[in-house]
Amino acid sequence: MTPILEVKSLSKTFGSVTAAADINVSVKVGERVGLIGTNGAGKTTFVNMVTGYIKPDRGTILLQGRDITGQSPRYITRAGVCRSFQIPQLFLGLTAEENLVVAIGIATGRALAPHASPDAPDTRGAVEDLLSRFRLGEYRHRVVSELPGGVRKLLDIAVAVTRKPKLLLLDEPTSGVASEQKFALMDIVMEALPDDVTVLFVEHDMDIVSRYSDRVLAFYDGRIISDAHPSVVLSDPQVKSYITGAAN
């Protein structure tokens, strides 16, 4: 079966900083992949290149065998890749519900009709479905700028999945969330996603990584220094000395 994502010799430098150095990865449909690495290791750069926010200097990115290298975010989104952000990218002046209405409207094309009502039954149905899957019901009428960080993180992911992506990239879904709530948040997210969605998520908390991924990519200095099952990666001596800092 064609891999959902295949990345070949991907490289990117910012001046003298090497953010990606010859990255090669192949991801199978339905995999849950954790991306780990210290600050500045190149995780976000990787996500940004796959989703078209920045163009790689060299290398190719294939989505189900189709070359999407250097395409615009809009093109890549339409091709089936959606993402959330390290800092949630939402419509701050709108309510949680209105954010979802816009997202659903774009996904269905209804947002481009001059007078489509937000109360149309199928739009409503989709909004209710997302609100309940992501447990956002109680925040529906709250303006996003007033919402707590963890709720914004969830909403950012809910907005990202309105287009029913094949590949979903989550950049630090639990950052800024109190540690005792991280598992609850990840439980909600993972339960809300259909099984056939391939998920790549950036994460600093190794307990989360072990629990929710079946494969880990360890980034260091723009390179992938380990790529295997979480238990293997987390016991790799290089990963221990460079990333997790665990002595044992």
Partner: protein, 319 residues
């Protein structure tokens, strides 16, 4: 689409406007025609403001609508008000379509400056175009209304007023339905976060372009009505002070209500006529004082006064 309740509100508003015109003196009808025509141009600005953009060149499209209608009458021999106003609106829309792709790539002060530059370009060109009357402009005749010609100046003003009222109510109703639609929310989304819009798979440029064209069309309709009311067109329509008035009306109105846009426009025309009566040479001064008062005391516009329901405020939640 509009629900029956909004439709009923619109019909009632129209009947009230038509009835008011019958009892008001001719000068008041005239003042209201001008206010409605400017209100339409300002309504266009509100469409743009909702996507986070302020145009300082709305006068360009007001002018395009006026010249479009005027030249249809003078060169095309058309005298029917509906055809003239429709033609003026269409002409402004086409100019919006032609200039839209250029301006849609700009934001904030660059967008404002570029729209201003375009309107000043047109203003400059018109003052030099002798075949269009140059600085003096051109005089128009009284229009006909679906084959009927007014017997007196008073009748003509009322007919124009009724015609402008119907158009303003219909267009305001469409705008209100549009603001409440998914597409209306999409505009607010563009204002709040362009990155998210692109990452949802649609084009920010397209949204801005469409809003710019809608704004151009509304200003064109307004400009055409204004031309018929004054029986005159001149390059001043594209001058920056005209655009500035629309900006002022849009800010005075706020973005909460479509009705507020017309209320603000009427208010401005009333202040203008009052000022020209009592302080004939101090219109700019009066306008300045008026603007200052609005910004100090009504920072969210008169629309905030008209809005019945409002979102729970931050303060109420913070307790």
């Amino acid at each position: 689409m509009l629900d029956w309740r909004s439709t009923a509100h619109l019909c009632m508003a129209l009947v009230a406007l038509l009835a008011a015109g019958l009892v008001l003196p001719g000068w008041a009808n005239f003042l209201l025609v001008i206010a409605l025509s400017k209100g339409l141009a300002a309504l266009g600005l509100v469409v743009l403001l909702r996507s986070g953009l302020l145009s300082f060149g709305q006068g360009l499209f007001y002018c395009a609508g006026g010249y479009g209608a005027g030249l249809l009458m003078l060169w095309g021999g058309i005298s029917d008000a509906a055809l003239l106003v429709g033609g003026g609106g269409l002409f402004a829309l086409l100019i919006g379509v032609a200039t839209g792709p250029l301006v849609a790539g700009y934001r904030k002060i660059f967008f404002a400056t570029l729209t201003l530059a375009l309107s000043m370009l047109v203003h400059g060109a018109l003052t030099k175009a002798d075949f269009l009357g140059g600085t003096d402009g051109l005089n128009l005749r009284a229009p006909t209304f679906f084959g009927w010609r007014a017997g007196s100046a008073g009748e003509n003003v009322y007919a124009l007023y009724a015609f402008a009222s119907i158009l303003a109510v219909a267009l305001a109703g469409l705008c209100r339905a549009h603001f409440g639609s998914v597409r209306g929310l999409l505009s607010l989304g563009v204002r709040d976060n362009e990155i998210r819009i692109e990452y949802l798979g649609t084009s920010v440029r397209r949204v801005v372009f469409e809003n710019f064209v809608i704004a151009a069309f509304l200003a064109g309709i307004g400009g055409a009505i204004n031309a018929l009311a004054l029986s005159h067109i001149d390059p001043e329509l594209a001058f920056w002070t005209t655009s500035g008035e629309f900006v002022f009306v849009a800010i005075l109105a706020g973005q909460a209500s479509v009705v507020a846009v017309f209320a603000a426009s009427v208010l401005l025309e009333v202040v203008r006529s009052w000022s020209s009566q009592y302080f004939p040479n101090a219109w700019q001064l009066t306008l300045g004082v008026f603007m200052l008062a609005v910004i100090l005391f009504l920072p969210n516009g008169v629309g905030a006064l008209l809005r019945r329901r409002s979102r729970p405020s931050v303060e109420a939640d913070a307790k």
